[in-house]
């Protein structure tokens, strides 16, 4: 990562197939600026305040004639288009794809391990693991018995649709299977990047504080289901569960909320039932 600007030239995402050991790099979409020019460049421009009602970052002071081109394009259109492509790919194969989001340490990987062990006979799971670095989570999933592709995002803070496309190519999930995408542990950035999933599942643990949902409203609003994890720890914590549920409902009145412990298995039957239900509706949607 470039220390001057935090940009990620050279910090490409890597897709690692844990079955074959094959590694593929995904080029970042930066415009490839020459880094040698940063330092000289950084001091050339000064934001200045005119009487404009908007944020202004000005450094063009010439007055040559110009042509204005109307564009009106959503900045994330390319990602949205790739996500739509993924969504169609899943639908055509009657695959249920879920995007699991949480802060780091909420228990996504433990939840997946247990889900694979307890439901693996019922559903063919394959997993896409997103982390900035290491294949540690990928190895855990593989040990639990599911095929897995690890995406290392380098400096990236979220998965993007093209990374998932690339991972699917490696993973080749079976017709009618379930693909779980474990996003990078981050409650901010993944909210904006559609991956083509049928639903986002937010995981929040009781060690994190009751007001997580209103602190990170974008993510909780974008999620269809919230799993309140680690409820086995409640006797040792001062955690107001009603306040937590109220915060989630304030941000997203229509989200389902399930209280579970991925460690003890408590409440997980509801999570498995939810997966079944989603799988059926994914299949029905394919014929709608």
């Amino acid at each position: 990562m470039c220390e001057s600007c935090g940009c990620s030239e050279g910090a490409k995402a890597t897709v690692i197939n844990l079955q074959t050991g094959a590694k593929t790099e995904i080029a970042g979409d930066s415009a490839g600026h020459p880094h040698s020019q940063h330092h000289r460049h950084a001091h050339d421009h000064h934001p200045h305040n005119h009487d404009h009602p908007h944020d202004h970052h000005a450094h063009v002071h010439d007055h040559e004639p110009r042509t204005t081109v109307q564009l009106g394009q959503a900045v994330l259109r390319k990602n949205d288009e790739l996500a739509a492509h993924n969504r169609a790919w899943f639908a055509g194969r009657e695959i249920l794809a879920l995007n699991l989001v949480s802060s780091p340490g909420a228990g996504k990987t433990t939840l997946l391990e247990r889900t694979i062990r307890e439901c693996g006979a019922l559903h063919a799971f394959s997993i896409i693991e997103g982390d900035q670095a290491t294949v540690n989570d990928g190895e855990r999933i593989r040990a639990a018995g599911a095929p897995v592709v690890q995406i290392n995002t380098g400096t990236g803070c979220h998965l993007e649709a093209d990374m998932v496309t690339r991972a699917l190519k490696e993973l080749a999930p079976a017709f009618g299977s379930v693909v779980m995408i474990e996003n990078v542990g981050n409650l901010v950035c993944p909210a904006l990047f559609d991956l083509g999933e049928r639903a986002k599942v937010a995981i929040v643990s009781v060690t994190e504080g009751e007001d997580k949902a209103i602190k990170y409203p974008h993510m909780f609003r974008a999620s269809n289901l919230v799993l309140l994890n680690k409820i086995d720890l409640l006797p040792y914590l001062r955690f107001d569960i009603d306040l937590c549920l109220e915060c989630i409902r304030r941000v997203n009145p229509s989200a389902g909320i399930l209280q579970v412990s991925a460690t003890t298995g408590e409440g997980l039957e509801h999570w498995y039932a939810w997966i079944d239900e989603q799988k059926k509706s994914a299949r029905d949607a394919a014929f709608a």
Partner: protein
């Protein structure tokens, strides 16, 4: 820091659309609840634009208020947060505006000869995003 990724998208989209011609100004519309920090986009823009047709361009960010209509009482109001209730207490809200994240327009330099030499030199390094990502 998804703003870096977003800024890379902005530069790639405009550079591709402008087909290598130097760009003087870009206007970005950002809703109050778009989920991005405009300061971070501004911070990234110069650096990401360097060596592209957008080098030295002005980035203007126009904020869009978060407007909503209450489905219970019909009132239109501005939302302070993503989950602000209507004055009547209802949370059954239709979102009208405030989540935009789009490039409204950009301005080309009509006379390429007046563009800074670096822009022309830098353009040689630039390829459309689609060429790199496929």
């Amino acid at each position: 820091m998804h703003e870096l990724s977003i800024t890379q998208n902005i530069v790639a989209i405009v550079a591709e659309h402008a087909k290598g011609r130097p760009v003087a100004r870009v206007v970005l519309e950002v809703g109050r609840h778009a989920g991005v920090m405009t300061d971070a986009i501004l911070f990234c823009f110069d650096v990401v634009a360097e060596g592209t047709p957008l080098q030295g361009a002005l980035l203007e960010i126009w904020r869009i208020e978060a407007r909503a209509r209450c489905r219970t009482c019909g009132t239109e109001f501005t939302r302070d947060t993503l989950f602000s209730a209507c004055g009547c207490g209802s949370l059954d809200i239709e979102r009208l505006a405030g989540e935009e994240l789009r490039i409204k327009e950009y301005e080309l330099r009509a006379d390429v000869k007046t563009a800074p030499a670096q822009s022309l030199g830098g353009a040689a390094h630039w390829r459309p995003a689609s060429a790199r990502r496929t």
